[in-house]
């Protein structure tokens, strides 16, 4: 079967072996992808089967109740949106500004390297630690109480390292030749950053922001620590009101003994997924608009 080998015998191409190996790895990678997808699919199907029947407009707009059939997620949903909005408001400007400083302004030296290393470390700190920090600083020391403000500031701290790192990656991906071209035309650093670098980095920055905010929406532990309530029969009217969020509501229902509550927990999970997907969709649309313009 083997074709005549070119050369004088000093090469041992073993083409068959190399091709088999190539195919093997291809199959391996495909398998790995399928495992991830399958788990996700099973999860979705399971939640859908349990929860889909309970998702209704009444369920979404009802306040929590002792009775599973009357309980709803209105307070948690609105609470989540408040938290999401404020977290985005705080973390986006702070994250971008820090990333810009680190990439475009900071002198290359030990100080910058130390800051950089610490940001990377902070990204790996368990979220509950941020909860404790938030409790000490925002809730008690700054006397914000168990408010939306305290909650979103805590989550801001939590996702800030991730946003900064993602922002830096995006800014670093802008070719240096663009900066040089801009400087050579007499642009200042800020003109170069604001008119050339940031527009080019924006799709990447937005992707990082989406991922970070999605994480914030799904967080439970730090909000429990700072005292988000599990049973909230009202929606927050301002940043200083107390609140609950969807993950806490879900956690609360799942930990009850009655199986009816487990079912509506599944329904709440579906709503949470819906919120996340909508949110990501908006971000993707935004990103595409940016990409098309450049």
């Amino acid at each position: 079967m083997t074709a005549p080998e070119v050369g004088n015998g000093r090469f041992q191409p073993r083409r068959r072996m190399r091709n088999v190996l190539g195919q093997l790895f291809r199959a391996l990678f495909l398998l790995a992808t399928c495992v991830g997808l399958a788990v996700l699919l099973v999860l979705l199907v399971d939640v859908l089967r349990t929860g889909a029947a309970h998702v209704s407009w009444d369920f979404v707009t009802a306040y929590p109740s002792r009775f599973a059939e009357r309980a709803g997620i209105w307070a948690a949903l609105i609470g989540s949106l408040w938290i999401l909005g404020f977290t985005a408001l705080f973390s986006f400007p702070l994250g971008i500004a820090t990333a810009i400083w680190l990439e475009e302004y900071a002198p290359r030296g030990w100080l910058t390297r130390t800051i950089q290393t610490n940001i990377a470390n902070l990204a790996a700190v368990p979220s509950i630690v941020y909860g404790i920090l938030g409790l000490a600083v925002f809730v008690r020391w700054l006397e914000m109480g168990r408010s939306v403000l305290a909650g979103s500031l805590t989550l801001t701290l939590l996702i800030l390292p991730v946003m900064i790192i993602a922002g830096q990656e995006a800014i670093r991906a802008v070719p240096n030749s663009i900066r040089l071209a801009s400087y050579a035309l007499g642009a200042t650093r800020w003109q170069t950053v604001s008119r050339q670098v940031l527009p080019m980095a924006m799709p990447g920055i937005l992707t990082g922001t989406i991922l970070a905010l999605s994480r914030a929406v799904g967080e439970t532990a730090p909000l429990i620590i700072i005292g988000a309530l599990a049973f909230v029969p009202f929606v927050p009217n301002g940043p200083l009101d107390s609140f609950t969020v969807l993950p806490i509501q879900i956690f609360n229902w799942v930990s009850r003994p009655q199986p009816e509550f487990h079912d509506i927990a599944a329904a709440a999970i579906l709503v949470l997924l819906g919120v996340l997907l909508t949110f990501n969709l908006i971000a993707i649309l935004l990103r595409n608009r940016y990409t098309q313009r450049s």
Binding site: S177, I178, S182, A184, L185, G186, Q191, M200
Partner: protein, 259 residues
């Protein structure tokens, strides 16, 4: 193009360096170079890789400021003004001394916006459409792009992109144009167009060009400077450098014995 406040002496150099040295950390990339460049000349800087010619070129519009660890000693004068004096703003220097890079580096924006950018950031108050057209015409690109000014500059060919970069540099009305191997990434036909353009632009600008291509230096330049290992070995009229160089090393390089 007249500058009211400058009273130019008869043989005034538009740019000149005195004992100019550039260090990258401990390495001395340019060693005590003194050159005088007269207006409306094309001056070619030639020499083997790493001889410091690009580094030298970047001194003329203070682009070396952007290289971490780079240090400049000696003086660079532009119309009698010390470019490295403490009260000189590099922003102003770069407005008056334009630069074109080795690889075409248009902004990922429309052709129009590429040309308009420099004028915008420098507070141009005139008619922007007119400026864009004039700059594109001067860069011999207008005929090819006038009906698609709003398409992305990245859709142009490499040679067109480089001429766009030249148009972009001309739009801020500089007096000197620095070109760092402007054709090394281009094919022969595109190179030809850029060389023709350099010839035309000489009427209005002083052009300093770094090139690896000795035929190009011979074709486009009036003066040639040969650099070797950071030293300026020889500087003089191009035909003399190419036909009757004084220095042994110049001749060796020109005739291709090393490089």
């Amino acid at each position: 193009m007249t500058n009211s406040q400058t009273i130019a002496p008869p043989s005034a150099a538009v740019v000149q360096t005195r004992d100019l040295s550039v260090f990258y950390g401990q390495t001395e990339a340019v060693k005590s170079v003194s050159v005088q460049i007269e207006p409306n000349q094309v001056v070619a800087f030639i020499g083997p890789s790493g001889c410091g010619k690009s580094t030298l070129l970047r001194c003329f519009n203070r682009m070396n400021d952007l290289v971490p660890g780079a240090r400049v000693e000696g003086t660079v004068e532009f119309q009698g003004m010390d470019l490295y004096a403490p009260d000189v703003d590099p922003i102003e220097v770069r407005r008056r001394i334009g630069m074109v890079f080795q690889k075409p580096n248009p902004f990922p924006k429309s052709i129009y916006e590429n040309v308009a950018f420099g004028a915008r950031i420098n507070g141009y108050r005139g008619d922007m459409d007119e400026l864009v057209e004039r700059s594109l015409r001067r860069a011999a690109l207008w005929e090819e792009v006038h009906d698609r000014l709003n398409v992305s500059a990245l859709s142009l060919s490499g040679g067109q992109q480089q001429r766009l970069c030249i148009a972009r540099a001309l739009a801020i009305e500089p007096e000197v144009l620095l070109m760092d191997e402007p054709t090394s990434a281009l094919d022969p036909i595109a190179t030809q167009k850029i060389e023709d353009l350099i010839w035309d632009l000489k009427q209005e600008y002083t052009i300093l060009i770094v090139t690896h291509n000795m035929q190009q230096a011979a074709r486009v330049s009036d003066q040639t400077a040969f650099l070797y290992m950071g030293n300026l070995i020889e500087f003089g009229p191009t035909d003399k450098i190419f036909t009757n160089p004084v220095e042994e090393r110049t001749e060796a390089y020109i005739t291709g014995r090393f490089g």
